[in-house]
Symmetry: C2
């Protein structure tokens, strides 16, 4: 008897009919002889609805109270999912994050899982029940309700799979696997049968919305095999994410496009106190880290021609107001910079292996964008990812031209 | 510095604007020098919406999973209420039933509070915060989420007031006190400035929807002074419920009308086995008690003229289907009775003190109904309550004629 963790995202439990579909998948896995724990997200747009309720009350909801509010979304899903399994004749028992032993750091809105104490879930599985666990949430040592941040249900699923020594963690979503590019953007995109943790990590971080990046990282660290598959086509085996690649057939595995980021550029005249400016920059990033605001494409450029320095980076648009107020607060330490913000951008990322060893890849990207007459605002290169910022309206063309260039 | 518990019901927190209104009341009490704990119900029709979601999944939701689902309603309210208090400049902290130390029996759907461990709420009050506690819910010793049944938030408020040794428990609702009859039914109804626990208990049990009966009982047992008042007219002092009546001016304190019950009548031919029928009746009531189904106006009548026996009682309409199936299951033990059900009835109750010592009261009730040409189906008398069942369409006239008769 093997053990499976199945995670059902928001679109997979968006209404009662879909919840029943997800319940059927879990019940079928039990009938095939598996022990099954499921991790469930909030129904469809529940989380967004709750956030909008909070924003009607106050523009700056207290993070603790926001967690108190948001955790109700998954709690509703687990109850309904358990009822659906029971109505199909299966046995089920729901668990809030706390009841499932998901212990997190004491930090609201983006807590990290410290530990999973799976005893209660283990007992449930041994009784032959399908354990239905609330994703995205946990409790701190002080019995405070916490949330793991957007996409946190994936992290719950992987952490639980690791704690239960599950054979595999199946991420059920509304697409049937990981593609070389977003199939909604690009019709020619090809589904991958397998992908390595490292590549998936970069794809996720670059905005491929299939899986949350932190959860891929955790899967890599804990060696949990993950399968991304579709709730609506349960017989499709989707894409396997693992160390052991079935066929390492490609160097460049995919292209991701992310429209949720904004770019910021701080231009500072270089006077004597350049050292104190670095202190300001360090202060800025410390503060961003404390608030759990993730930055990407960080670049620092000192211009030779005129004595000025430019600091550029991207952040998620939803963090933009907070980032701007932090910059204002650090205005003196940062040397009174001029701030330029661009929200109308797309970040196109090419993911592969050993890209730094292949400078031709970067050249190819530039060339394909150039030949499509797409202006490039910023480029950042890493070992397995090259990202370029382009105006949002060119996003689709940029993906298409790069995809064609590399014949994915 | 005195301590207050304020309870805000579903209509008082039905939307964001009303939540802000409730928050203002709590903040004002702190400004007047009180320590304040609030108990909050689910917003408006949230509970009904959640029940309907569950019923879309299955006609017989598991009680444990239903509690898991329903407890999210109050959890949303406490988060939003805390945010509202904070946005008014107050300090607040929300508590689920479990976090507030509301420990219940391990029984889903209608758990009784075993104990309140108020340490966390005490600490919150001492830090100067308004503690915002989820009504209607608690946890069992096994860390299972439980609910207290309809109107359970009142019980939470009274139990918390007792555990915190609060000076008073203010029940904020959509009416500004307890009336001699439902003012929506009868324009002449008069607001009482004070009423005894005993009378309020009978009024509540008889269907006056101002307060839940169990909570009044608890207030009586724990000597918590309760004030029923309006969220929308916070300067009105409402009705005080206490042992120490300010002016014991009346014998009959009010009339209640309840349309939520159905009457059942079981007619059994009296053959030899009348003893075994009593066993069946005893089995029936044991089963009803186990399921937490409350009966009222229970009467057993053996007819002399023809050898038959009639058992009549009322139950809440929402329990009717379950009661009917229990009766079917006990058909043999009950002597194959003929069952008559009437759902189109109103139960009119007259509440006062020492009614059995005043048989004239019962006579007056009959006379006033008779003179209004209202047929009476059943009458039950107690020490402080006389109830009569009349056809639903005559409810308003029955209340009016009795109210006039007693010059309330």
């Amino acid at each position: 008897m093997t053990r499976l963790v199945q995670k059902f995202g928001g679109t997979s439990v968006a209404d009662v009919q879909r919840i029943r579909k997800a319940a059927e998948i879990a019940v079928a896995a039990v009938a095939e002889g598996h022990e099954v724990a499921t991790v469930v997200s909030a129904m469809g747009h529940t989380t967004d609805h709750l956030i909008s309720l909070a924003e009607q009350v106050t523009q700056q909801p207290d993070p603790r109270e926001l967690d108190m509010l948001l955790t109700t979304g998954e709690q509703q899903s687990i109850a309904l999912m358990s009822m659906a399994i029971q109505s199909l004749g299966g046995q089920a028992r729901s668990f809030t994050g706390g009841q499932a032993g998901i212990i997190t750091e004491h930090q609201h809105g983006f807590a990290r899982i410290k530990e999973v104490r799976p005893d209660a879930v283990e007992s449930s599985l041994k009784r032959g029940e399908i354990a239905v666990v609330a994703g995205f949430q946990g409790v701190s040592d002080h019995n405070e309700l916490t949330t793991l941040g957007r996409g946190g249900s994936d992290t719950t699923a992987v952490a639980l799979a690791s704690a239960l020594s599950a054979e595999r963690c199946d991420i059920y979503t509304d697409v049937n696997g990981v593609y070389t590019a977003d199939p909604r953007l690009l019709h020619e995109a090809r589904k991958l049968t397998a992908v390595s943790y490292e590549e998936m990590l970069e794809l996720a971080a670059a905005g491929a919305q299939v899986m949350n990046a932190r959860s891929v990282e955790l899967a890599m660290d804990t060696q949990v095999a993950v399968r991304v598959r579709s709730t609506f086509e349960p017989h499709d085996t989707g894409t396997l994410i693992t160390h052991h690649l079935v066929s390492p057939e490609y160097t460049i595995c995919g292209i991701a496009c992310d429209m949720s980021h904004a770019s910021l550029c701080l231009t500072t005249p270089m006077v004597d106190g350049s050292h104190s400016q670095l202190e300001g920059i360090s202060g800025l990033f410390t503060r961003l880290k404390e608030l759990g605001i993730v930055t990407d494409m960080v670049m620092l450029l000192a211009r030779e021609d005129e004595p000025s320095q430019e600091l550029a980076f991207t952040v998620e648009k939803r963090s933009l107001l907070r980032v701007q107020s932090i910059i204002e607060a650090l205005d003196r330490e940062l040397g009174h910079p001029k701030l330029t913000v661009d929200t109308d951008i797309a970040r196109i990322s090419v993911i592969g292996r050993g890209l730094t060893a292949r400078p031709a890849v970067v050249a190819d990207i530039f060339e394909s964008l150039f030949s499509a007459a797409i202006p490039v605002q910023m480029v950042a290169t890493g070992d397995i990812k090259v990202s370029a910022l382009v105006p949002a309206k060119h996003a689709r063309d940029a993906v298409k031209s790069i995809h064609n260039r590399f014949e994915l």
